[in-house]
Symmetry: C2
Subunit: 153 residues, 2 copies
């Protein structure tokens, strides 16, 4: 099961993640693709750098897969997260969840991204036009105040 | 906008659909991939045939895109639906919706698949081990009773 959850410094390929969950008894595959957005609250991002504690991050991704299996026993999940320098529109994370019926695929996929933001040790350094800042990838910050998981340096 | 919505008799390529909605101001892309499932209520499907009234089906897919734009003005949507003979695990439909933030991408994507099942004139012929039957792609049937949109022949 571990091969379904990985951290990579190479560009992520959506099809590879989807292939891992495609199977004869699934009629639905939901994917979530997180990409680097140029503007956040009016601030322009030039590029991002992601860093992860790789072994722990992969373990946590797999743990999320186990949580999904408990809640949606028929679901199969794969998650890949990229690290390193990412340009605008580059893919930071791909989640794929297959289930027999579609409602479960949406719910389990949504659960996965929320849990990634909660428990996976990945940080991003935002390079803005006017400076840079390390924040947790993690819970979206409000009013510029880093949320839980913050790793400002 | 029309080029984002199409019916094809060729295998669908997920990346091509995703590319149409990838853009600098999106941080989230949700995709829904509908695949041919082997078992439905204990009955084994050998393969499926999809037929569409192509011009009308593409028009209806585009209409769904407009509905999404009204509800989620920052969303970009692309939808491809396949017709012809599909084997188990083949992709019947790919929806991709990009939005600045993730919650909207899930909601709009879910909206799209539900609307496809409601308004798009596509029918499938199920080839089971013990026979065949035309049904609407569309609202899942209950207890073997074809739902609205049924086109049994």
């Amino acid at each position: 099961m571990g091969k379904n959850y990985w951290i990579s410094d190479k560009p992520l390929v959506i099809q590879e993640v989807v292939d891992l969950v495609t199977r004869r008894n699934a009629g639905a595959i939901n994917t979530f693709i997180g990409t680097v957005r140029e503007f956040t609250k009016g601030k322009r991002t030039l590029y991002l750098e992601y860093e992860a504690y790789k072994a722990m991050a992969e373990k946590k991704l797999e743990e999320i897969g186990h949580e999904i299996k408990e809640k949606w026993p028929e679901a199969e999940t794969a998650i890949a997260h990229r690290v390193g320098r990412l340009e605008i529109t580059d893919i930071a994370v791909v989640i794929a969840v297959s289930t027999p019926h579609r409602a479960d695929s949406y719910e389990a996929s949504r659960y996965a991204i929320e849990r990634i933001k909660e428990i996976v040790p990945i940080w991003k350094k935002e390079h803005w036009e006017d400076g840079e800042h390390w924040i947790g990838d993690q819970k979206e910050t409000k009013q510029g105040i880093p949320a839980k998981g913050d790793a400002s340096k």
